[in-house]
C-alpha cells in the first residue's frame, strides 16, 4: 500500500523529511491533544485529532476549534492605506466602514489570482489583511510594488509570526465564546470586534470557512496557547472538539469554497473561479484590464461543483469528460462529503459544460464515473 495525499495535505512521512517546516506556537499543545501533523504552507499543522469524520460532524452539529495560525497577517497603515488596497485588490476599500471586513482577491497583472483574502478596516487609516499560509511575502510584495502609485504614505507590516489565528465554528460557537468571557455583540458576518478571552485581548471576526456560524480570533503569539485552551474549556459542556486541516477541507468543500493552493493553481482569474461577485468594476485595480477583456470574450473555463453518481471519488488532477469521452475539464478538489455521504468535487470545465444539471464523467484511474454539474453549496442550509 502506498498513499498519495492531496495537495496541501502532505503525508506525515513526507513532511517529516521536508526541512524547514515551522512549528507553530501551539505545536506542543496539539501534540498533547493527540494531533497528527502535516506540512501545509510551510508549517507543520494538525491534520486531525480524533478522526476527520468525527471532527467534521462536531462542527456541523455543535462546535469545533481550529488553529489556523499558519495563515498570514499583514497590517496596512497610513494615509495611503485605503488607496493602496483599492489599487491592489478587486475591492473598493473606500466603501468599507471601520469594524468591517470584505472578501477579496489580489491579482497579478494578467488577471490571475495571486491570493484570495479578507481585509478588515480597523480604523480610518489602518487595515488588517489575512493572506493564505505561505503567501505573506508574495502579497506584501504585490502591495508594496504599488505603494508609490497612491497618494499618502503607507506601510505594510508582516505580523504573521507574532499572531495566532483560531477559528471557533459551529452552531454552539456563540455560546462558547460567551462562556469564555468574550463580550461580542450578535452581528452579521464580516464584522470585527475587540474582546477579551481569558484576559487576553483578541480581535474577533464573524467569519469562517465552514458554512457554520462562528468566529475567527486574532491574538498575540504569547497569549495564543492559553486562549486556545480557554476556548476548549469553555466549550466542554457543548462537546467542543479540536479540528484539524482534514475536516477544514471537507467542511469548505461541502460549501464549495475555493482553497488557494487547489482552485487557483496554475493561474485562474476571479471570473473562472466563480468569484466575479467579489470584483468591484468601478475602480482601477491591478489585473483589471485583463479581466475586462476576459469578461467581454466570455469564453473562459468555469469552476463548478460536481456530484458523482457512480462509485468512486474524484480527486485533484482527475480529468472531466463529456459524453463522447473527450476531456472538457479538470478536478481541483474532491472528497467524500461526510455530511452528504456523496462524492463531491470542484472542477474547471469548458463554458458549454458549466450549466447545473450537465451530465459529465470523471476519469477515476482510467474508469469513467458518472457525475452531474451541481450548484454550490453542495450542503443546502435551511
Amino acid at each position: 500500500m502506498t498513499a498519495a495525499f492531496f495537495p496541501g495535505l502532505m503525508s506525515a512521512a513526507e513532511s517529516a523529511t521536508e526541512p524547514g517546516l515551522l512549528k507553530g506556537p501551539l505545536h506542543d499543545l496539539h501534540a498533547r491533544l493527540g494531533a497528527r501533523f502535516v506540512g501545509f504552507g510551510g508549517f507543520e499543522m494538525p491534520v486531525q485529532y480524533s478522526s476527520i469524520k468525527e471532527e467534521h460532524e462536531a462542527v456541523r452539529t455543535h462546535v469545533g476549534l481550529f488553529d489556523v495560525s499558519h495563515m498570514s497577517n499583514l497590517r496596512i497603515e497610513g494615509p495611503g492605506a485605503e488607496a493602496l488596497l483599492s489599487r491592489t485588490t478587486v475591492s473598493d476599500a473606500a466603501k468599507l466602514k471601520v469594524g468591517r471586513g470584505v472578501y477579496t482577491a489580489v491579482l497579478r497583472d494578467d488577471g490571475t489570482i495571486l491570493d484570495d483574502t479578507i481585509f478588515y478596516r480597523m480604523a480610518d487609516d489602518s487595515f488588517y489583511l489575512v493572506p493564505n499560509a505561505g503567501l505573506n511575502e508574495a502579497v506584501r510584495a504585490a502591495l508594496e510594488a504599488h505603494a508609490d502609485d497612491v497618494e499618502g504614505d503607507v506601510t505594510v507590516t508582516d505580523v504573521s509570526r507574532a499572531t495566532c489565528i483560531f477559528a471557533l465554528q459551529g452552531p454552539d460557537a456563540p455560546a462558547v465564546l460567551k462562556a469564555a468571557g468574550a463580550d461580542v455583540p450578535d452581528t452579521p458576518p464580516f464584522r470585527i470586534h475587540e474582546a477579551q478571552v481569558d484576559g487576553a485581548v483578541c480581535q474577533v471576526a464573524t467569519t469562517g470557512y465552514t458554512g457554520e456560524t462562528g468566529y475567527e480570533l486574532f491574538v498575540s503569539e504569547e497569549r495564543g496557547p492559553e486562549v486556545f485552551e480557554a476556548l476548549l474549556d469553555a466549550g466542554k459542556v457543548h462537546g467542543i472538539e479540536p479540528v484539524g486541516l482534514g475536516a477544514r477541507d471537507t467542511l469548505r468543500l461541502e460549501m464549495g469554497f475555493a482553497l488557494a493552493g487547489n482552485e487557483f493553481e496554475g493561474g485562474r482569474t476571479p471570473l473562472e473561479a466563480g468569484l466575479g461577485w467579489a470584483v468591484k468594476w468601478d475602480h482601477d485595480f491591478v489585473g483589471k484590464e485583463a479581466l475586462v477583456r476576459q469578461k467581454e470574450t466570455d469564453d473562459h473555463d468555469r469552476l463548478v461543483g460536481l456530484e458523482l453518481s457512480g462509485r468512486g471519488i474524484a480527486r485533484h488532477g482527475y480529468a472531466v469528460l463529456d459524453g463522447s469521452g473527450q476531456q472538457v475539464g479538470i478536478v481541483t478538489s474532491g472528497t467524500l462529503s461526510p455530511s452528504l455521504d456523496t462524492a463531491i468535487a470542484l472542477a474547471y470545465v469548458r463554458p458549454g459544460q458549466a450549466a447545473p444539471g450537465t451530465e459529465v464523467a470523471v476519469d477515476v484511474r482510467g474508469r469513467p464515473v458518472a457525475a452531474t454539474v451541481a450548484k454550490t453549496p453542495f450542503l443546502k442550509r435551511s
Binding site: 500500500m1 502506498t2 498519495a4 495525499f5 478522526s51 476527520i52 462509485r311 472528497t335 467524500l336 461526510p338
Partner: protein, 127 residues
Amino acid sequence: MAEVPDDLKYSRSHEWVRVKDGIATIGITDHAQNELTDIVYVELPNEGDSFEQEDEFGVVESVKSVSELYLPVTGEITAVNTELENKPELINESPYDKGWLVKVKLEDESELDGLMTPNAYLSLTGN
C-alpha cells in the same frame, strides 16, 4: 499500539497474508488502517483476475488520500470481500478479520518465504 498477529506474513507495503490450504487471504494491516484513518472507498478486482506478485490490485481511499494496494503473492483471485463496497469502514474496525480484501490461489508457495515475519514487520513500523 497497532496489532500484529503472530500467525500472518507481511509485506513492506503493509498488506498481510494468511495462508490456508493453498489459498492466501489478503488485507491491510492495523498499522496501515490506523495511518489512513476513516476509509471511505475500496476498489477491488474481480474474481478470476490474475496478478503477479507486487502488482497493483486495487485502491483504498480515506477522506484525504488514495492508496494503491499491492498483491504480496502471485495468483488468481478466488474471492473478493464484496461487503466492503457498502461498509469500507470494516477495514478500520476489523483489519484482520471482517476487513479482509481478497483471496488468492497461490501459484508459488516459495513467495511466502520472501515476506516479512511479524517481528520484522513490527520493527518496520517502529512498534
